[in-house]
């Protein structure tokens, strides 16, 4: 429980009032916020601050949020939560596809934001020594690694969590809602597009042929399950 109390959060937002308010709330919850207002400077700030989580506004001057998200994701698997004013499908999906783990639509309540941030940080403290197999993949849960034929596959923490959740119960079909709860930590139903997009991202990394998935199998009308080992 201590790890997230000290969590460093990088807030990438051009609206100074909102950034300041976010700072107040985050500090009040025990996080260590740092701020950057410009998309062009975001990557440098990220490298310098080494945050545990990034809060990223999608509309930024200079480089826009999607681009920043892509750049950060290219060099780190750190959780990224998007702040967006648009819940329209395209924007959200584009944001998720560019690598964001979760998103939160403005206007949000402070509690909602904090819950979302904690959910993203929580996963880092459950090091149970455990070895799982899914398809022809070997997952070392504690070591946080996925290997196929001895070759490790790089996954973001969220993708790793998703894979582990499926691999732990290969007999079970997971609905999107259940996955949202287990992986994202949503109590109530939320946007199932989160699941869809991340399953696609996961497949593109772990499947031999993402068009014909064998690791994460779609059960039409229900959800997803782990492919046969």
């Amino acid at each position: 429980m201590m790890s997230f109390m000290k969590g460093r959060v990088l807030v990438v937002d051009d609206d100074t009032a909102l950034a300041e308010m976010l700072g107040i709330v985050l500090r009040g919850e025990g996080f260590e916020p740092s701020f950057v207002a410009d998309g062009d400077k975001a990557l440098a700030a990220f490298r310098e601050a080494k945050p545990d989580l990034v809060l990223l506004d999608l509309m930024l001057p200079g480089r826009d949020g999607i681009e920043v998200c892509r750049l950060i994701r290219a060099e780190s698997g750190v959780p990224i939560v998007m702040l967006t004013a648009k819940s329209d499908t395209v924007d959200v999906v584009v944001g998720l596809e560019s690598g964001a783990d979760d998103y939160i639509v403005k206007p949000f309540k402070p509690k909602e934001l904090v819950a979302r941030i904690r959910a993203r940080l929580r996963r880092s403290e459950e090091p149970a020594p455990e070895q799982l197999t899914i398809g022809d993949l070997v997952i070392d849960v504690a070591g946080h690694s996925v290997k196929r034929d001895g070759q490790s596959i790089a996954l973001t923490p969220l993708e790793f969590d998703l894979l582990v959740a499926l691999a732990r119960k290969p007999w079970q079909v997971f609905t999107r809602e259940v996955l949202l709860e287990q992986v994202w930590g949503y109590r109530h139903a939320a946007d199932t597009r989160l699941v869809n997009v991340h399953v696609q991202r996961l497949r593109s990394k772990v499947e031999k042929d993402p068009e014909r998935p064998e690791i994460v199998v779609t059960v039409r009308g229900v959800g997803y399950k782990a492919g046969p080992s």
């Binding site: 308010m21 709330v25 329209d88 403005k106 809602e177 597009r193």
Partner: protein
């Protein structure tokens, strides 16, 4: 069987468009003619009708082509008419040529014959008068045999033979001479004889002989010369006259003029004319084809381009060459397309701008709202440290911010629908899951209100291709509304699926709806009772958004209610996206409506298929009570006078049906969905009877 084949016939013909049309067209037309003839002649015999249908069937593609192809029609008409003209012209020309040819021949023949008759008369006179007195003895009797004293038959026979010989020798084959006895008096050398192997008796027609015998003048006729030696008979002009032989007894002398030459000339003319006529007809047909093509091709092009335009390819234009009428058509057409494209582009730009504006407003408003929201929450958290006034202000601030937020969200949602920017993300979902979530979300409110939410019909999965987020929003709205207006009584959420549709109905037993309100509830910012206190702070846009959501699915959202008897809102969705709805598995008016209960008490059948409502509708049940319903409406109308039931239906019945389909955008007529559900869709509840019953009652 007959009906089947008739129905399938057009389809069958359509399936063979590539069939060569010209093949055996003559036979087809003959058969068509026979068909028509037979049709006119014999009616009522089923065997014959079947036969006719069988005969007509292969003709259908031809008839279709005839109807659809103006070029074919024009060319065929031109061909037929020019053929008629050519035939008429040919007959006239041939007649004239023949008359001209024959006139000349007749005149020449007549003079020849007249001369011959004179010679014959003269010879007879000379022979009767004696040998010495005649000057032309040598010519009249070539062999110089005196015949003057010969009153013997033998010499007359010889004389006659000589006469025929001498008369015919002058013609050199241009004519033949024949003699025939008058009547049956064939004695005395008057037996038939003819030159050049002519058979006199069969070559001279009987009526001409009658005429010749009837008077002393010459008579003529056309005939066929029959030859004794088997030579082919040929047409001829025959001129005859009664002449006396040397003994003063009459005989018939005939000149036969063969018309071989004239016949040849005439057939030559005929052949020439036929060839020319054929050429003219064919050329006229070809010309018509070319001319029509000149006109039809641009028209066809215009039709094709118009089709493509209407299919959305707005950049399509006609090619314009020259300055003729066709070119003007093309120009006008292109101008129209241009304007259309321009207008559509303007509208699209406008729509894009509006969408952009909505999006911008969304962002611009939301960012400061987020700050305000967070600030308010921080203040709200710390309100215990404030004095009571400030603390209460902080509470009000937080509450009203909630309301402001949901109002903003709803406004943005509605404007997104208005801009056409709403997109459906349909996938197969189990509506029971959605209902479960909605109900559990509404439980706290229900508890506060003291009502229970019951779910019925969730034994089997209720799966449909739908957008879970939108369906949940619709249902949340309906359930929260039902609890809000349910006066603490139970709320029943009912699910059912049948046919190609699934439905969720939310029933409450609260204040209900006044007549006419069933449509108005879906209006924006409409409030049932402005004076009523609202506890959840609805925005007034909820049902409007729900309606749009249903519409986006191609579904219906309908309301029914009676004052004091509660209301029922029913969401019907097609099971698969893009499939048109034909009916709903749940009747709009619930079985426990006051009217239905009243009918029960009166021992009358209820309207609207109650069995369907109690259990999740399965196919058999729906069918069973769907059919007899039609007859009940009139029954009910007479049985229950409108005034007798205070719980009359909202409005005049059409209040109950509000939801149009999305594609049409227009409100469906009252009875449409049920009417569509005709044969083969018996599994879908038919509601026309119910609806009409309501309509009657409302008046």
């Amino acid at each position: 069987m007959a009906g089947d084949s008739a129905a399938s016939a057009p389809g069958g013909s359509g399936a063979r468009p590539g069939r060569p049309v010209g093949r055996a067209a003559g036979a087809r037309f003959r058969r068509l003619f026979e068909g028509g003839l037979l049709q006119g002649g014999v009616q009522g015999s089923p065997v014959l009708r079947l036969f006719l249908r069988w005969v007509r069937r292969p003709l259908l593609p031809v008839m279709r082509l005839w109807r659809r192809n103006i070029q074919l029609r024009v060319v065929a008409t031109t061909l037929v008419m020019s053929l008629g003209v050519v035939l008429l012209l040919g007959f006239v020309v041939i007649g004239q040529v023949r008359n001209g040819l024959l006139d000349a021949k007749v005149r020449a023949s007549q003079s020849q014959a007249t001369g011959g008759f004179a010679v014959a008369k003269q010879k007879a006179d000379e022979a009767a008068a004696g040998t010495g007195s005649g000057t032309g003895t040598a010519s009249s009797t070539p062999d110089g045999t005196p015949i003057g004293d010969g009153r013997q038959p033998q010499s007359v026979i010889q004389w006659m033979s000589d006469l025929v010989e001498s008369l015919s020798s002058g013609g050199a084959g241009a004519f033949d001479v024949a003699t025939l006895p008058v009547g049956d008096d064939s004695g005395g050398g008057r037996s038939p004889r003819g030159s050049g192997n002519v058979n006199p008796t069969s070559s001279v027609p009987a009526d001409l002989r009658d005429r010749v015998n009837g008077g002393t003048t010459a008579a003529q006729s056309y005939t066929e010369i029959v030859y004794a030696n088997g030579k082919e008979s040929q047409p001829a002009l025959v001129i005859g006259k009664q002449v006396n032989d040397p003994n003063g007894r009459p005989y018939e002398l005939y000149y036969l003029f063969p018309l071989t030459q004239e016949e040849k000339s005439l057939s030559l003319v005929k052949g020439t004319l036929a060839t020319a006529g054929l050429f003219v007809v064919v050329l006229l047909g070809a010309i018509a084809w070319l001319v029509v093509r000149q006109v039809v091709t641009p028209v066809r092009m215009a039709a094709g381009i118009a089709e493509r335009l209407s299919a959305g390819r707005l950049q399509e234009r006609m090619k314009v060459t020259g300055e003729d009428d066709i070119a003007r058509l093309g120009e006008a057409f292109n101008k129209m397309a241009q304007n259309l494209q321009l207008k559509i582009q303007q509208l699209e730009d406008l729509s894009r701008m509006q969408r952009r504006f909505v999006s911008d407003v969304s962002h611009e408003l939301r960012t400061p709202l987020t700050t305000v929201r967070m600030a308010a929450d921080v203040i709200h958290e710390a309100r215990e440290d404030f004095d009571p006034v400030t603390a209460r202000s902080a509470e009000l601030l937080a509450d009203q911010l909630d309301r402001f937020e949901s109002l903003l969200a709803d406004l943005l949602e509605i404007s997104r629908f208005d801009a056409g920017a709403a997109a459906l993300e349909a996938e197969p979902i189990d509506l029971r899951e959605v209902v479960r979530r909605v109900v559990s979300g509404a439980e706290p409110l229900a508890e506060r209100k003291g009502s229970r939410i019951r779910v019925a019909g969730d034994q089997q999965p209720v799966v449909a291709e739908a957008d879970a987020r939108r369906v949940e929003r619709v249902l949340r709205n309906l359930v929260v509304n039902a609890v809000e207006h349910g006066e603490g009584r139970d709320v029943v959420v009912r699910l059912a699926s049948a046919g190609g549709a699934v439905a969720v109905a939310v029933r409450d037993y609260g204040v209900g709806l006044k007549p006419g309100e069933a449509t108005r509830v879906f209006s924006r910012f409409w409030r049932a009772d402005p004076a009523r206190a609202r506890t959840t702070g609805g925005t007034g846009l909820g049902l409007s958004i729900a309606l749009e959501d249903a519409r986006l699915h191609g579904g219906w959202l309908q309301a029914w209610g009676e004052p004091g008897g509660g209301s029922q809102f029913r969401l019907t969705l097609p099971r698969t996206a893009d499939e048109p709805l034909r009916g709903s598995p749940i009747p709009l008016e619930p079985k426990d409506s006051r009217r239905n209960r009243g009918l029960d008490d009166a021992g009358l059948p209820r309207g609207g298929g109650e069995k369907r409502a109690t259990v999740p509708v399965q196919q058999g049940g729906a069918r069973a009570d769907a059919l007899p319903a039609r007859g009940q409406s009139t029954h009910r109308m007479t049985a229950v006078p409108a005034a007798a039931d205070p719980a009359a239906l909202p409005g005049n019945g059409n209040g109950a049906r509000v939801v149009p389909r999305p594609a049409a955008g227009a409100r469906q007529p009252e009875h449409r969905p049920a009417e569509d559900a005709a044969p083969g869709t018996g599994t879908v509840a038919r509601e026309d009877s119910t609806e009409s019953g309501e309509a009657f009652r409302g008046r």
